[in-house]
Every structure is written in structure tokens, then in C-alpha cells.
């Protein structure tokens, strides 16, 4: 093909355009590098925190005794210690407390959260729905120390409950409810109305359509919402600090008695004046991060396996 002849004017234009193209390329790379640096700061922050916890935690779990690397079995089987104890003890009571309070809290909170989510997505119309949604959002944003204070005032100060695992579980319940409600509602709204209509047009009652068609369609997403709320609650300290009076020394499974948790142990040990206890805080933190990581892994597994695509 014959090249069209380019006049002088066109050539000048072309070179100006080329120059602009060069500037654009440079600007593009600069912007890209700045964004990369900002992202790196965000990612590094997480890596440094986790890395620090892992390194220090591992030295609690695998202490060097007489020049040999050993595994501290007692760390997982023993409860914690009192300040100045020769044996710094372990995390057993913390794990038991965290899991038990989480289980009780979730047992109450998940049905409430799910019910709220279904109500908001399937039934609430107009103003009432907006008000409920606003309150749920407020609840989700409530500083968790206020949750602890609330439980203390309503249940403990009034002597309805003692400082106990149950009181702590109620605090976690308040943390879990709005997270489940808002995340599950968002997921239910992803279900296209055409599926609801298909069910209704077959002569199915509305509640059956919700239970047998809408929920199964997004079961993976619902499970994700619940697991995320559990991960969040597992890391809470403030609602427990004011309600459980957990002792680092005892393992307790009775929910009506004082109970400790991994987060409370970390708080107690980290603020201790004894270096041996400070070291225990790292071990507790590593276990806590592992528990939360397991929830996250479960989330990834569930969402990867059961994804609604259309």
C-alpha cells in the first residue's frame, strides 16, 4: 500500500504528538510507582505486625533450653500464670474461654442476625426498613468498649449475672449480630428477583421460597458472613475486659463463673511487669492470630466452593 504523503504541517503535528506521548508515558509510570509504594506500605504494615507476632510467638512455643530447640508442650495444656511464677504456664484456659464464649455468643447471635437479614431483604419496605438498616449500621460501628460497659451496667451492676463467661458471650453476641445481619442482607440482595418469582409462580408460599430457594442459592455467602463475624468477635477484648473478670490462673468451663480469653490473656501478660509474662503475651497472640486465620481459611474455602454465578 502506498503511504499517503505527509505534508510539513502534518509532520510538525506528528512530532508534537510524539512528544506529548513521551510525557504521558513518564507521568503514567510515576503514578504507577506512587500507587505501588502506597500499596506496599499497607501490605508491609500487616506483614510486619504478623511477622513480629509469629517470630516472638514461635520463641515462646519453641524455646531454646540449654542450647537445644525444644517444643513447649505445656504451653497448650496448662493455664496461665500469676506474676512472678516460675512456670509461665500456657494458653489452655484462654483457648477454652475464647471458643466457649464465641460458641455461646454465636449460638444466640447468628439466628437473630440471620432473621434480621432475611426480614430486611425480603420483607422490609420503605421507611421501617431504612430505620432498621440505619440502626444495624450504628450497632456495627459502636465502639466495643461501650458494648462491654452496656453489659456491665445491665447485667453485672444489677447483679443479674456475675462477672462470667456468659456475660462476655452476651458482649460478643452484640458484636456478631450487626455483622451477620448486614453482610447476609447484602448477599441476599444479590439473588435475582427472577428466582423468587419463579418459586412464587409455582405456587410456593413466600417463606418456602426464601428457605428452600433464596437461601440455598447463596449458602456459601451466608456462611462467609457468619465466619467473618466470628473472626471479628474472636479478636474482641473490650467487651470481655469489663464483663468476664477472667483470671490467668484457672481453666473454667462453667459459663456462670469468671472466664478468660486469648485476648484478655494478651492484655494481662503484655501489661505485666515480669518479662517472662510479656513473652507469654506473644505466644497468646500467635495462637489468637492462628484461630482467626483458621476462620479466614474457612471463609475462602466456603466461598471458593459455593459461588453463585449467573
Amino acid at each position: 500500500m502506498a503511504q499517503p504523503t505527509i505534508s510539513l504541517d502534518h509532520r510538525t503535528l506528528l512530532s508534537a504528538e510524539l512528544a506529548r506521548y513521551a510525557t504521558r508515558r513518564v507521568t503514567n509510570s510515576i503514578v504507577r510507582i506512587i500507587l505501588l509504594i502506597l500499596t506496599a506500605i499497607a501490605v508491609l504494615t500487616l506483614l510486619v505486625i504478623v511477622g513480629y507476632v509469629v517470630l516472638n510467638g514461635l520463641s515462646t512455643l519453641f524455646p531454646v533450653v540449654d542450647g537445644h530447640l525444644t517444643f513447649n508442650v505445656g504451653f497448650f495444656t496448662k493455664p496461665g500464670s500469676a506474676p512472678g511464677d516460675e512456670d509461665p504456664g500456657g494458653v489452655f484456659n484462654g483457648i477454652v474461654g475464647t471458643l466457649e464464649m464465641l460458641a455461646i455468643g454465636a449460638f444466640i447471635a447468628v439466628p437473630i442476625g440471620l432473621g434480621t437479614a432475611i426480614y430486611l431483604s425480603e420483607y422490609a419496605v420503605g421507611r421501617l426498613g431504612r430505620i432498621v438498616r440505619f440502626i444495624i449500621d450504628l450497632l456495627a460501628g459502636l465502639p466495643s468498649v461501650l458494648v462491654g460497659l452496656f453489659i456491665w451496667m445491665v447485667f453485672i451492676h444489677t447483679r443479674i449475672l456475675d462477672f462470667s463467661g456468659l456475660a462476655g458471650a452476651l458482649g460478643l453476641m452484640i458484636i456478631i449480630i450487626p455483622i451477620v445481619a448486614s453482610s447476609v442482607e447484602a448477599i441476599l440482595r444479590l439473588v435475582p428477583d427472577s428466582l423468587r418469582e419463579a418459586g412464587l409462580a409455582l405456587g410456593l408460599a413466600k417463606w418456602r421460597v426464601i428457605l428452600r430457594i433464596v437461601l440455598p442459592t447463596v449458602s456459601g455467602g451466608v456462611a462467609t458472613g457468619i465466619l467473618l463475624s466470628l473472626a471479628r468477635a474472636a479478636g474482641e477484648t473490650a467487651p470481655l475486659l469489663l464483663t468476664t473478670a477472667g483470671s490467668t490462673l484457672f481453666t473454667n468451663t462453667d459459663p456462670l463463673k469468671p472466664m478468660t480469653s486469648l485476648t484478655l490473656q494478651i492484655y494481662n501478660y503484655a501489661t505485666s511487669a515480669y518479662p517472662a509474662q510479656n513473652q507469654q503475651a506473644w505466644g497468646n497472640a500467635l495462637v489468637l492470630i492462628s484461630v482467626i486465620a483458621m476462620f479466614s481459611a474457612a471463609v475462602r474455602y466456603v466461598t471458593g466452593r459455593n459461588r453463585y454465578d449467573q
Binding site: V125, P192, S194, L195, R196, E197, A198, G199, L200, A201, L202, G203, L204, A205, R208, R212, I213, P216, T217, S219, Y308, Q310
Partner: protein, 281 residues
Amino acid sequence: MTNSPMIAPPVPAGVSTKHNITRKGIALTVRNLNAYYGTSLAVGDVTLDFSPNTITALIGPSGCGKSTLIRCFNRMHEVLRGAHAEGEVILDGDNIYAPDADPVRIRRRIGMVFQKPNPFPTMSIYNNVIAGLKLNGGSHSGINYDEVVENSLRQAALWDEVKNKLKDSGASLSGGQQQRLCIARAIAVDPEVLLLDEPCSALDPIATLKIEELLQQLVEKYTIIMVTHNMQQAARCSEKTAFMLADDKRVGHLVEYTATSEIFTRPKDKRTEDYISGRFG
């Protein structure tokens, strides 16, 4: 699932289940029907008689209210927030808009197929077909699901294509197959009337042809009412055609309703003539 003993047909000798019965469809009578979205009227004062075992096409330009109207025939219109309808739709002597009429029971007698195929994505082909029976509660002991699945899929002309993969997901089928699966699902609950809201508008011409052929067989058993924006389709498949048009207040009205051969050759109304001759819409 025949609900009223009044319309239960006599069981012919030698027929083992009610799903094998060739039954006449039921007439549907519409009197002074008004459909609203919130307070605004969308379809005004429609009066119509649908003959049993007949395919009736509802045609008209976009926004004329034909989909709104057909959704009033099984009380699906009111499912949308703020929507409601007034007037009478009489199925076999019972007004489905009577205060004590249960929309859930009505929808089992008047099945519906939608514009976009909507099989349940988490269910197998098999479970999609029996969803209406299996999920509706009550006793299922008398139902032979295998038989229902085979009969419904045969009626929907899908059996031969899926009989070896009934456990596969309903979403794995092609669009045309999905739509026939939706037809099978609708007829599995044994309705008397079948409503189709632009059933072929999401399908290619070959799949469309298959559905049109299928309707000619289904009309032996059911009264069929179909919304279509495709005039050729109305001319090809229907015996009767109703033409709707929105007025300047965007309220849809019935303009003309007569035999399909009549409406496409000798329309009585000037507006019908303009529409079918392609002058607007």
C-alpha cells in the same frame, strides 16, 4: 395438583396417575381489570374472555401493559412492591381476586413461564422439574417423582436431550433448553392455564421454533396465554390475538381482541392496522 374437587376430571380406566390424563383446559374470564403501580394506573379496564385449549397472544408495543396484564392473571403482579390490581379474573367460576382467594393456590392452577429462563441454579434438572411439588409441603407419599419428571420433560420436548443427565445442574443447559425446563417445571404441578411472558425473547430462532412447536402440543391440555412483542410469532402460533396500546397517560388498554387470522388481515381498529402494518411500535 388439582385443588378443587369441582374440576377434578373423571379418571379414565387404565390410567395410573393423574399426570397422564389428557384434560381440557379451563376458560379464564377477565372483567374490568385495573392494574396499578403505587397509585398510577398501568392497565385500565380490561375485559377479555380466554377460551379453553386455545393459544391467545397478547401483542402491543413496549410499555403497553401486556406483561403487567398477564401477571395479573396469576396474581404475580402484586408481588412487586407497591403494585396491586382490582377487578375480576374468573377461573372456572372462582374469582381469583376474591378477598378469600389464596394466591398460592391460584398459582398452582395457573402456571407461568418468564421472559428470561430462570431455572433454580442450585438444583439438578430433576429437582428443578419437581420443585413445585417437592417444596410445597403437605404429603408427598402418593407422588411418583420419576414419573412426574419423565412426563413433564416429555411434554416439554426436553426428555430426549436430558434423560441421561438428570442429575446435572439446571444452569448447565442452553438457553432454549433452560426455557423448556422452565415449561416442564411449570406443568409438573399440573396447572390448568399456562401464562407465558415473552417466552422466546431471550432465545435464538431455532430455540424459538422449538418452543412454538411445543406450544401446539401443550394447547391440547392447557389454556395458553402468551405475551409476545413479535407479531410473526403471534400470527404463527396463536388462534386468538389481543392488541393492547397505551394511551397518552401511559395507561394500557385493550384495543382489539379477535381471531388471529382476522386481526392480521382485517383489523377493525385503525390503531391495530397501524401497528400490524409497522407504522409504529
